[in-house]
């Protein structure tokens, strides 16, 4: 189970989880899970530790999480009004959107034409990074603990000393003709 950063309240955490889940979607953690849309069968960014990574002071976005979560719900409310959707008021506005609407809104927010896109791009980048490289954790440890993203991508495990080496690396045969103008130095002419 991934911990929720202490400085986020439930609304803020759910909202940011729903954002991260739109970047790399996962399966619901329980039948009552509203943040995760549940469009995939295996864990995604949230269970890979997206909130933990975002809250890491090293990212430089931790202090922006509270305002960004509020702004995301404002944008979701506007989006719903614009598109004629009625939102479930039991959950934050962005969480009330289904996956396709969440994705459509994130495309708008990250569009080159949106002057406030930087914050959303950073949220998206770190959500993805939580899944594909677990930058909040030592890579070898994350793999040993079964980090969902690294495992699903098929990231190889290191040697016992925590370093990667691949002794099987080459087909070991000629696979193409060299360019006829290759110079003696091995460079193009």
């Amino acid at each position: 189970m991934v911990a929720t950063p202490e400085f986020l309240d439930d609304v803020q955490a759910m909202t940011l989880e729903a954002f991260a889940d739109t970047i790399v979607p996962g399966n619901k953690r329980s039948s009552s899970d509203r943040a995760i849309a549940g469009v995939c069968e295996e864990p995604g960014a949230v269970e890979s530790g997206a909130l933990e990574l975002l809250a890491d002071p090293a990212t430089g976005v931790a202090e922006a999480l509270v305002p960004l979560s509020g702004l995301l719900n404002e944008r979701a409310t506007e989006y719903a009004e614009r598109t004629g959707l009625t939102l479930d008021e039991e959950v934050p506005a962005f969480v009330a959107l289904d996956y396709d609407h969440r994705a459509a809104l994130i495309l708008e927010l990250t569009a080159r034409s949106n002057p406030e896109r930087d914050g959303w791009v950073l949220l998206a980048q770190f959500s993805n990074i939580a899944y594909d490289s677990a930058a909040h954790r030592s890579t070898a440890e994350a793999l040993a603990d079964g980090h969902p993203g690294l495992i699903q991508m098929g990231f190889a495990k290191p040697d016992e000393d925590g370093l990667w080496r691949f002794s099987d690396y080459s087909y070991g045969r000629v696979l193409a003709k060299r360019h006829p103008s290759t110079t003696e130095s091995g460079s193009p002419a």
């Binding site: 990074i129 006829p180 130095s185």
Partner: protein
């Protein structure tokens, strides 16, 4: 009152442009001081780890601009510590390029023939080696086989990698743990140290001012070793000669910030930036087709599934590196590895069905096939359309994260020439890699962080025309005698191949002229040192 520190030659940056000048000037007898904004890591400091704060985030910077993001070195050794060590020479036609200015962009004194002796020197010093097919990794072999299947040639590229020591771990962007990669920490920099040069890490130069006797004062901030956003002090050093080699993404802001004290800068400072026409394509290989169509099989029975294995780019198709083709239609197609984190967010799914391409549920499906990815790196001819806006208060960017991620002032709006070159190269790569169902391929999106370059060039370029070049053919900054620019920013245009060896060869070529100018300015220095002796363990900070 403390007297201002003095040196003969102050070098800003310790990548190719800085390390080579540091070596020759120190070997020739000058007092040389190198200020490097990044840390000094070596050997066991180079982690196999994506954890924030590991060498992976310490040693390079990712600066997002408006329409172009730049990945550059940020450590002692600069780009050579983070590079993939592909070291080809630039093809002859590159030196004849006219770009959008309607005449040759390079100085008349430089062409491939005149640069070859300097390429030879650097190739011996690094050293550069030619790979044979047994050194070629699965990813490179797969690209070669696909090219061959489409009737194309493919070359193992010349590299700075010791094949005996290389473990094919593919962590080389975080620095080489095994000292197999030939960085400047194994040749020019230890040579410079041996001759008394001083290298100070975590010293970020901000601006230059002038002394009364025509020399320069270099103003720097000291940078915290964990949080690069934090300055821990500042200082000044007087020098008779200044070499700017901070990188094509960092040299222009230093000069822009210096304009107030030094006077007007040449028009080309911070203009004509080239991203080397770079473009990435991401293929998702069909493992069954790779086995059946190309006849490839690994000892474990898999056809490929080897994206993670290797040592960066090892094979390139140079069929469109062809002088007979018109400008903007020439490009190389090189197999590459990009690690997760930076290398997956921009990859697009070919199966988006109208939804988002770079995130979302369809994107996740290709992430799960990551082992079967093959990255094709296209180096095309762009139009030098990058322009730097006003410099940020310090450094070359507003740092967002403690390390690596930042926002910079570079704006890049690709011209129709550049867009057409990208489209032609994309189409050719697609034709090769999708033939007979081998793969599905998509270019990286430019919608998230703009275009993307790992080889920033030309932002203070050399040339013969004062209106379109910042430096003359000796690399001296026009109108500011005693300031030289020797990094990638001095290269006039995109090269259609990896540029490290060309930056290095141009620097070697510039040294005799810099030595002569140094002597005129009262520095007791001679030219003629032999090449540095290569060492086999990357050099550590003697002060550590």
């Amino acid at each position: 009152m403390t007297a201002t520190e003095k040196t003969d030659v102050l070098i800003v940056g310790s990548g190719f442009g800085g390390a080579i000048t540091a070596y020759h000037l120190a070997a020739g007898g000058a007092k040389v001081t190198v200020l490097e904004r990044g840390p000094w890591l070596t050997g066991k400091d180079f982690d196999h780890d994506y954890l924030l704060g590991s060498s992976y985030t310490k040693v390079f910077d990712f600066v997002a601009g408006d329409g172009m993001s730049v990945l550059g070195g940020n450590c002692v050794g600069g780009g050579s510590v983070v590079y993939f060590a592909a070291l080809p020479r630039a093809p002859g036609y590159v030196f004849e390029r006219q770009g959008s200015i309607g005449r040759r962009m390079w100085p008349a004194a430089i062409n491939r023939e005149s640069l070859d002796p300097w390429y030879d020197r650097v190739s011996e010093a690094m050293p550069v080696t030619q790979q044979d097919w047994h050194d070629v990794t699965y990813a490179g072999g797969l690209w070669a086989a696909a090219c061959d299947h489409s009737g194309h040639t493919a070359n193992p590229v010349p590299v700075g990698v010791d094949a005996e020591k290389c473990t094919n771990c593919n962590w080389m962007m975080a620095g080489c743990r095994f000292d197999a990669k030939k960085s400047l920490l194994m040749n020019y920099l230890p040579g410079a140290l041996e001759h008394g040069a001083e290298i100070r890490p975590l010293h970020e130069v901000q601006k230059l001012t002038r002394t009364d006797d025509g020399g320069y004062v270099v103003h720097y901030n000291q940078i915290d070793d964990v949080d690069y956003r934090v300055s821990t002090g500042s200082g000044e050093i007087e020098a008779k000669i200044v070499i700017l080699a901070a990188g094509a993404g960092a040299t222009p802001p230093i000069l822009q910030r210096s304009e107030e004290a030094l006077g007007e800068m040449p028009h080309a400072v911070g203009r004509y930036f080239s991203g080397n026409g770079e473009r990435l394509n991401n293929a998702i290989m069909n493992e069954e087709a790779v086995g059946e169509v190309l006849g490839l099989q690994r000892p474990n029975g898999k056809a490929y599934e080897a994206n993670q294995i290797g040592k960066g780019p090892v094979v390139a198709c140079w069929d469109y590196v062809d002088a007979a083709l018109p400008e903007y239609e020439r490009f190389s197609m090189e197999q590459l590895y990009f690690p997760p984190g930076l290398g997956t967010i921009l990859a697009q799914t070919p199966d988006a069905k109208g939804g988002p391409t770079w995130f979302g549920k369809e994107k996740k499906e290709i992430l799960k096939k990551w082992k079967s990815w093959l990255t094709i790196f296209l180096m095309t001819e762009d139009d030098n359309e990058g322009v730097f806006g006003p410099p940020p208060p310090t450094g070359n960017s507003f740092r967002i994260s403690q390390q690596m991620l930042a926002r910079g002032p570079l704006a890049y709006d690709p011209t129709p020439n550049t867009l057409r070159g990208w489209a032609m190269a994309d189409a050719k790569a697609k034709e090769i890699i999708e033939k007979d169902g081998l793969a599905k391929v998509m270019p990286w999106t430019n919608d998230v962080v703009g275009a993307y370059t790992v080889h920033p060039l030309a932002s203070c370029r050399i040339g013969d025309d004062p209106a379109t070049s910042a430096c003359d053919d000796t690399h001296e900054l026009r109108g500011h005698p005693g300031i030289f620019v020797t990094d990638g920013s001095s290269v006039p245009c995109g090269l259609t191949v990896n540029p490290a060896l060309t930056i290095a060869a141009l620097t070697e070529r510039a040294i005799p002229g810099i030595v002569a100018k140094a002597r005129e300015r009262g520095v007791d220095v001679t030219y003629g040192a032999s090449l540095p002796k290569p060492i086999f363990t990357s050099v550590a900070n003697p002060a550590a």
